[in-house]
């Protein structure tokens, strides 16, 4: 009897997990209907975000936050990828056994720091440095992109390290035996062997960067305009939601749900492709 009950409870829990993602999609889709019907696909390339008079109607387009999200993510990935690869190579091939462990723990702690702390630190300590080096007023795409990079580096480095570690020693040793340098072993043996895992880690980090909210909210400037230069302030989908979602009404609120839906679907595609095609599934 107890066995039956236990089985049913665990089946119920698994069903809940199954419907969670579908439920989120359904709810966002439903609440975004008003905006979808009013603006259709024009929503994606309309640069205007203006409530109408007396809160009636208004024009809402997602172009500015969508471009801001993509640009800050792009900057983050350009900076994070080479550094994360370097860290992974250092941890698997260069570092002495004794320092690998503490170094790995330190990198993983960097990943554990809450994103709001990155935002706060970035605003008061990092933004002034970016300002003095590149001009602008400190907050903007570039600052957000760099701090976003610092946040995804440990994550990317950890997955890359794990997949580099799966390269069999025999393969590496045979390359060394014919006189290959360390770099050649990395380039011609380890990289090809762990290619899937490395690409997967980059795409997965990209997925994380797209949805990152708090650090970007502090640093991107939260201004509803397209950034002409990289140091200009702009906004992103998560930041717009964080700052304005709670006060929005009617069509504006529905447009916010529309943006949330776009972010959710894009993240889903990015993350799912990384997990299914590149990282494989753990047995």
């Amino acid at each position: 009897m107890g066995g039956r009950l236990f089985r049913d409870f665990s089946f119920f829990s698994a069903t809940l997990a199954f419907f969670l993602l579908i439920g989120i999609f359904a709810v966002l889709f439903t609440y975004a209907q008003e905006s979808m019907h009013t603006f259709g696909f024009d929503f994606l390339y309309t640069e205007i975000w203006e409530p109408g008079e007396d809160d009636e109607g208004g024009i809402f387009g997602g172009y500015i936050p969508i471009v801001g999200t993509l640009m800050s993510t792009l900057i983050a990935m350009v900076i994070a990828t080479p550094l994360a690869m370097g860290i992974a190579i250092f941890l698997t091939e260069i570092a002495h056994e004794k320092i690998v462990k503490p170094f790995s723990v330190a990198i993983e702690l960097l990943a554990a720091i809450p994103s709001i702390i990155y935002g706060m630190w970035g605003l008061f300590y990092f933004a002034p440095i970016v300002q003095s080096l590149f001009g602008g007023n400190g907050v903007g795409l570039l600052t957000a992109g760099i701090v976003l990079a610092i946040m995804v580096i440990p994550f990317m480095a950890a997955i890359t390290r794990d997949s580099m570690n799966t390269t069999p020693d025999v393969l590496k040793e045979s390359a060394y035996a014919i006189g290959a340098t360390k770099f050649e072993v990395i380039k011609d043996v380890i990289m090809p062997y762990s290619k899937g895992g490395i690409i997967g880690s980059i795409i997965l980090s990209l997925g994380r960067a797209l949805g990152e909210t708090m650090a970007v909210a502090f640093l991107v400037g939260s201004v509803m305009s397209v950034a002409g230069r990289v140091t200009d302030p702009t906004t992103s989908i998560p930041v717009l939601l964080a700052n304005n979602f709670a006060e929005a009404q009617d069509l504006e609120l529905s447009s916010m749900y529309f943006l949330a839906l776009i972010l959710f679907v894009v993240s889903f595609i990015v993350i799912a492709s990384a997990k299914i095609y590149f990282l494989g599934r753990k047995k």
């Binding site: 809940l16 997990a17 630190w121 050649e184 749900y257």
Partner: protein, 269 residues
């Protein structure tokens, strides 16, 4: 010569990237400690936000995270058990496993939006329950994932031994398999707790914030993270100091729980 030079350059660049990574960790921790410790007084812990302290914020954050854990852990462990022990090989289990895996990286702000639509919009006001549900939703897929993976590490022979002794399936799972995976599952729970206790985005428009001490989950609910976001943007020096104090305390809590989780697994191996 060219090959050897290239080799040197790459190795040096890799070492430099590792130093940059560590450099940022120390830079953040040191500025946080200096600013944080300088801003902490005894009253910081004894007064609530209205009077310039963070007592209600710490209590609120822990209360929401702990209740969310109490909700998510049984559901997550049971779902993990189903995926590994009952559903193994079925289409439903493999699809659920993938969806849940994707959910672990889903944008946390979207979960806030989802819970707002379900639990705040219909009621008409922010409330602590909504914050708890948002945190539990963040935690659930992480716990399912670790339980699933840890159960997979338990050798098949243990289960077979249980069957040979005539144990029923659920007894084998609970008394043999889950016991063998205990350390891994506990560590997973601890690490996911460390993750949700530092979350801000899912709380912004679910529990929102409260300046006063409250235990009433039907009311707007105080939290460290949302307060840091609000305080840091105020222009006055006192608010900023309080934000640094709160940031320091929050980071210490998160890092200590993380280190504790790592310590557990280290003893095992």
């Amino acid at each position: 010569m060219h090959r050897l030079l290239l080799n040197k350059v790459v190795l040096i660049l890799s070492t430099i990237s590792a130093l940059i990574g560590i450099g940022f960790l120390f830079w953040i921790l040191i500025t946080l400690s200096c600013k944080g410790i300088a801003s902490i007084h005894l009253e910081t812990f004894t007064k609530d936000l209205v009077e310039g302290g963070i007592r209600n914020l710490i209590v609120g954050q822990f209360m929401m995270a702990l209740i969310a854990t109490a909700v998510a852990v049984p559901l997550g462990v049971l779902a993990g058990i189903y995926l590994r022990e009952y559903g193994e090989g079925s289409k439903f289990a493999s699809v659920t496993r993938t969806l849940s895996d994707v959910m672990t990286s889903a944008p946390s702000i979207v979960i806030g939006v989802f819970v707002f639509a379900l639990l705040v919009d219909p009621v008409g006001s922010f409330n602590g329950y909504a914050g708890i549900v948002a945190l539990a939703i963040m935690m659930l897929p992480i716990i399912i994932g670790t339980t699933d993976n840890m159960l997979a590490l338990v050798p098949k022979e243990l289960r077979e031994a249980g069957i040979a002794l005539g144990g029923s399936k659920h007894k084998i799972i609970l008394q043999i398999v889950l016991k063998a995976a205990k350390v891994g599952v506990t560590t997973g729970i601890l690490l996911s707790f460390a993750r949700i206790i530092g979350e801000t985005a899912p709380l912004l428009f679910t529990s929102a914030n409260n300046q006063f001490f409250t235990m009433d989950l039907g009311d707007q609910f105080p939290s460290l993270t949302v307060s840091i976001y609000n305080l840091a943007t105020y222009p006055d020096a006192e608010s900023r100091e309080l934000a640094w104090a709160a940031s320091f305390i929050l980071t210490m809590i998160v890092l200590l729980i993380n280190l504790a989780g790592r310590y557990f697994t280290r003893n095992k191996h």
